[in-house]
């Protein structure tokens, strides 16, 4: 009897395995590369400020309070999709939003901000995209949550929506406030 049921067991086992695999990947962007930076310090950089190229900001100067580094470009359609969510997050005032203008012409970037509104406390301009390689950035939008010590805590690839803010960013932010 048991011998005859053996193929059925094998099938159930395989089906179970595949089901777990599908469940693990459902609702996730499997093409997104997890950041190797999580738990580590942000890469050292010194980037000019959009609109004021003579002024440079380094990774050290951003330390002190947590911030969300939001990678965007005027050429990026999904950044427009994400823009209202980022703006709402900025309006709530609980988190500093640092813009990372990636591979963009300064005048295009400025026009984009003028047209849609500027939610950023400051915008770093990485025109040639060289510094972005150190962050492991490979497109826009991408976002990094960095704590007050300058440690990367979280990264997302693709547009942030209200759900991500509620279920991922806000709990992390609350946890950071407790440990501090």
């Amino acid at each position: 009897m048991i011998r005859r049921l053996l193929p059925l067991f094998a099938f159930v086992l395989l089906a179970g395995l595949l089901f777990v695999g599908i469940r693990m990947n459902s609702g996730k962007d499997t093409s997104a590369i997890p950041s190797p930076l999580i738990g580590k310090s942000v890469p050292a950089f010194s980037l000019p400020v959009l609109g004021d190229p003579t002024k440079k900001i380094s990774d050290r100067e951003l330390r002190g309070t947590p911030y969300l580094l939001n990678v965007w470009g005027s050429w990026c359609p999904n950044c427009r999709v994400e823009h209202p969510v980022i703006s709402a997050l900025a309006r709530r005032g609980k988190l500093r939003i640092v813009g990372y203008n990636y591979k963009d012409a300064p005048e295009d970037a400025q026009r984009w901000l003028d047209e849609f509104g500027n939610p950023y406390a400051i915008v770093l301009a990485d025109e040639d995209g060289r510094a972005a390689l150190d962050w492991g950035i490979y497109g826009a939008p991408e976002s990094f949550l960095v704590d007050s010590q300058g440690i990367v805590r979280w990264k997302s690839v693709g547009p942030i929506d209200d759900d991500i803010v509620r279920t991922q960013i806000e709990p992390l932010l609350a946890a950071m406030a407790v440990t501090r």
């Binding site: 190797p36 591979k103 972005a132 390689l133 150190d134």
Partner: protein, 150 residues
Amino acid sequence: MKPLLLTLLLLLASPGLQAAKPPMLAAEPPPTFQSAAEEQRYRSLVSELRCVMCQNQSLADSNAMIAHDLRKEVLQLMRDGRSDDQIKQFLVVRYTDFVLYKPEIKPMTWLLWFGPGALVLIGAVVIAVIVRRRSAAAPVAPPAEDSQEW
């Protein structure tokens, strides 16, 4: 086969399709190499690295903006005197093992590297056991002549 390939190439080269690309992805000028050896090393490196944006293409094949930037970086690192391993490490630190078509052998990748071999081995053992059991159970006498009727 050849005419088909030619048609495809012509299609790809047609201006209508080119115009559909965003301006940022305009064809880059091929890098100028200092020597044939450098060119060869560069080509073999970028074909061994995986594009992070369009993940079914190598760095060499991809036309994505990031692939362009990473190719430039690879050439720059080569000229800075870094070894192939150092260049790969540079990318792994930033973009994880994802960029390697041949990830290094370490506990995390043991299943990937040795899994298929282990499965073949397990299969071979199972077959050997079954064959042994059957031959032990089968009659020692040779099959009768008439079993070859067909």
